[in-house]
Each structure stands twice: as C-alpha cells, then as structure tokens.
C-alpha cells in the first residue's frame, strides 16, 4: 500500500523519543515539586523551632510587661495546639507560610512541655505581639505567654485601674484602652469589664469568668488571678481549657517538689508543717476551669501558711 502524500508520518524513532521525553519531563517536574515542598517544610520547621527559642527569655519572669514583636518575612499562620497527655501535657506549634500564593502544608510540629502559649487556634499575619505574665497558684507555676496577631485589634472597655495601667504600659497600637467617656474604634474586639453594649468579650470580675460571643454562640471560661484572665481573653475556649489543665499538672508536680523540700528542711530543724498533698491531688484531678474556684480556698490557706512560716518553702 502506498502512503498518501501529506499524511503525517511518524517513524518509530520519533514516537520512542516523544514517549521517553514525556517520561523524563514528568519525572523532572515531579522531583522539582517535591524539592520545593521539602524546602517549604524545612523552613516551617525551622521557624517553629526559632519561635520556641525566642520564647525562652519570656519565661524568666523579669520580662513581664515587655512586648516582644515577632516579625515574619512573609504572611504566616501559627497553629497553636495543646495536648494534656503525659506528665505535663504538650504545647505544639505548627507554622504555615505563604509560598507562591498558597499556604504551605506541613505535618512537622515543634513540641515543648515547659511553655504555655495562649492564643486563638490559628493566628495569621506577618507581625505578632508576644508578652508574658507569671502565674502564681500559690507558688509560681510558670510564665504564661500571650500571642496575638498585630492585625487583630483589641479594645478594653472600662477596665480596672491595674489592668488599665498594665495594658497602657504595653504601648501597643493594636491594644486600645478606653474609659466610659470614649467608645471603642470599629473592627476591634471589644472587651468589656462589667456592663457594656456590643461587647465581644465580657469579663465578670465577681464570678471570675470570661464570656466570649462567637459565631457558634457564647462560650464561658473561668479564671483565678489576672494572668489567667488575660489568657482567657486572648485564647479560644479549647486552647484555654487545655492549657489550664496543663498548668494544674505542673502545679501538682511542683506541690510534690515543695512537699519533698519541706521534708528536707525538717531535717535541718524547720518545724513548719505545710501540707501540700491536698493541692497536689486536687490540681491533678481538675476537669475544667470551673474547678479552679474549688482550689482557691486551699491555695489561699497555703499562701498564708507559707507567709507565716519560719522557713518559707517558696
């Protein structure tokens, strides 16, 4: 049979070259994508670890009222996750950054047991505000770290004098403090102390509760001490409740330590008897933040006993 003129003729060599070429190109593109993804994952993991290192100085307790500004080169999402497993629970941080117009996805997590970060589940932005405040219950348990995106504005409406001074000292453009005469700017999270209209967050200092009005309805959490009040304001309910449980685990472990120290001091002739076992047991069995109020009488009693002791335990 004669082949007609003009009909496309492809020799076996050409078909072979096209197929192999396509395979090579496919492998090259696949490898390049994989390399870029691995690079993004490495950057995210590195950033997560860098944040954890950056948070170290905040735990000394001398950095209270000092704001650390975390500036990222690109738009970043910080995933704040918390787990109550183990002796102290876990603080988990995951970082996702904008790359070629898309958020990088990574399974790599930075995990630490000795940090307590209070923030929303996902904080997004390129600038983040971090500050810390010690939590004492009745001894110092840890420094609580508050993390929020500077894109998110908070307006504290009619706060008590100490809170007002503390917040004003932070000197942040994203945190407004207003007394009754002025109203809060628009597009801010309005945090009301006592009565107020159109509030996103209500702080009840008598009940020691923080109520948040979210899209899914209102959520209420309970606190003891100012440091936990800030924690409740800046974090979501899940994060807050989980971190409170972790803090109570550490309180329980520290109570055991002080109990052991008391026994050592008794050998040196310190006859003060401070029973910390009740705190150690009840702190470890806390169900949620509502149980904090049950611990408060024990904590106050221990605080008084230690204050009057000849050999103070803390």
């Amino acid at each position: 049979m004669k082949v007609k003129r003009g009909q496309l003729q492809l020799s076996f060599a050409w078909i072979f070259a096209i197929i192999v070429g396509a395979v090579i190109l496919f492998i090259a593109i696949y490898a390049a994508t994989k390399v870029i993804k691995t690079g993004d994952t490495a950057v995210s993991a590195k950033t997560g670890k860098e944040i954890s290192v950056l948070l170290n100085p905040l735990e000394t307790g001398f950095e209270t009222g000092v704001v650390t500004l975390l500036t990222m080169p690109v738009e970043t999402r910080i995933y704040n996750q918390c787990s109550t497993s183990g002796n102290f629970g876990k603080q988990i941080i995951k970082i996702s950054q904008m790359s070629f117009g898309e958020w990088t996805e990574t399974d790599l997590e930075t995990v630490f047991s000795n940090k307590y970060i209070f923030s929303e589940g996902v904080e997004e932005g390129s600038n983040f505000i971090i500050f810390a405040k010690p939590f004492e219950f009745p001894f110092k348990v840890s420094d609580l770290i508050y993390l929020t995106s500077s894109d998110k504005k908070y307006c504290f409406f009619k706060p008590p004098r100490e809170i007002k001074e503390e917040l004003s000292d932070l000197n942040q453009e994203s945190i407004f403090v207003k007394n009754g005469a002025e109203s809060c700017p628009e597009n801010t999270v309005k945090v009301c102390f006592g009565n107020g209209s159109g509030c996103d967050v209500n702080v009840d200092e008598f009940q020691k509760s923080v109520e948040k009005n979210t899209q899914n309805g209102s959520q209420i959490v309970y606190y003891e001490t100012d440091s936990l009040m800030y924690a409740a304001i800046f974090s979501d309910k899940n994060t807050y409740e989980c971190q409170v449980k972790r803090l109570m685990k550490r309180t329980s472990n520290l109570a055991d330590l002080y109990d052991e120290k008391g026994a050592l001091l008794a050998q040196q002739g310190c006859a003060d008897s401070i029973n910390l076992q009740s705190l150690a047991n009840s702190a470890n069995s806390i169900r949620d933040s509502q149980d904090l109020s049950n611990l408060n009488p024990v904590v106050n009693q221990l605080k008084a006993q230690n204050g009057f002791a000849n050999c103070k335990l803390w």
């Binding site: 090579i24 170290n56 100085p57 735990e59 000795n114 472990n253």
Partner: protein, 176 residues
C-alpha cells in the same frame, strides 16, 4: 536489510543518548538538592545551641530551681539547693516528658570548694560538690553562674547559706 540495520543503530544511539541526558540531569538535580539542604543540619545544631544558652541563663529563675522568696527577698539567678535536691528525687516525671528539651542539667559548686567533685546523693547531701539533675550521656555543655542557696542548722539556729555555683546545660548536636 541494510536500511533496517541502520534504523536500529539510530534507535540504539537515541536510547543511549536519552539515558545519558537523564543521568546528567539527575546528577545535576542531586547536586542542587545537596547544596540546598546542606545547611539544614548546621541550622538545627545552631538552634539547639541557642536554646541551651538561653535555657542556661533562664533555668535558675524557673519555678523548679529558683529561690523565690525562701531566702528573704526575691533573688535573680539563685538556685534553691534544697528544692533542686527534691527535684532530683522526682526527676523521672520531668525526664520522661523531655520537659526542658535538653540532654543534661548539672549544678557544680565553684566556691567554696570544700567537697571537691563529690556527686550529691540523698545520703551525703549537702556535703557534696556536684548535683546531676539530668544525667547527660554525651553532648556539648553551656553554663551560667548562679548563687546556690540552702537552709543550714548552725548550733540550733536555721540560717541561709549561699555558695557560688554554675549551672551546666548539655545539648546534643544534630545528627549525633
């Protein structure tokens, strides 16, 4: 027949060429990947080192070690020896959770050096010179000077006694 043979030769030549080109690009790719990720291990070690340095400077002020108000007023960089000894007894809970994220923590008395390098145990406490809170098998150590305070009974009177010590934090190099 002759034409067929020459065609086969051409296909063979092309196949060899394609394999060579693929191998060349694969090697170039491997080289680039190696260059891109060679700094990762170094970065990890640098971050571990930074973490250990910051930890050494802040550890004395953490609740598990700090003097708090036990010795009068609040003190900076002061380690409560009694509390740390109690911590040594309960350290398993902390080490199991990798609480500090480092491989070793040790407190070494510097002055006065009356007990030399004797390791602290429940039996010989406080007459010892070195307390291993977290025993490190290997790694690099970074240290920070601290005051090491405890209560001591002197002729029936309980007194505060502070000595000079250093807190040594050991971290593992990445890849080791």
């Amino acid at each position: 027949m002759q034409k067929n043979k020459s065609g086969q030769m051409k296909i063979q030549q092309m196949a060899f060429m394609l394999i060579a080109v693929t191998l060349f690009f694969a090697l170039v790719g491997l080289f680039i990947v190696n260059v891109l990720f060679s700094g990762l291990k170094e970065s990890a070690t640098v971050l571990e080192e930074k973490n250990a340095i910051l930890l050494a400077s802040k550890l004395a002020n953490s609740p598990e070690f700090s003097c708090g108000d036990s010795f009068g007023t609040s003190r900076v960089n002061c380690v409560d020896f009694d509390k740390t000894m109690a911590l040594k007894k309960n350290v398993k809970a902390y080490s199991d959770s990798d609480f500090w994220g480092v491989s070793g923590i040790e407190i070494v008395k510097i002055y006065p050096l009356t007990q030399g390098n004797t390791l602290c145990t429940v039996e010989n406490y406080p007459n010892c010179g070195r307390l291993e809170v977290l025993k490190a098998s290997s790694g690099t150590g970074v240290s920070n000077f601290v005051a090491l305070c405890r209560k001591e009974n002197v002729e029936g009177l309980v007194q505060n006694k502070c000595e000079l010590a250093k807190i040594v934090v050991t971290y593992k190099d990445a890849g080791s």
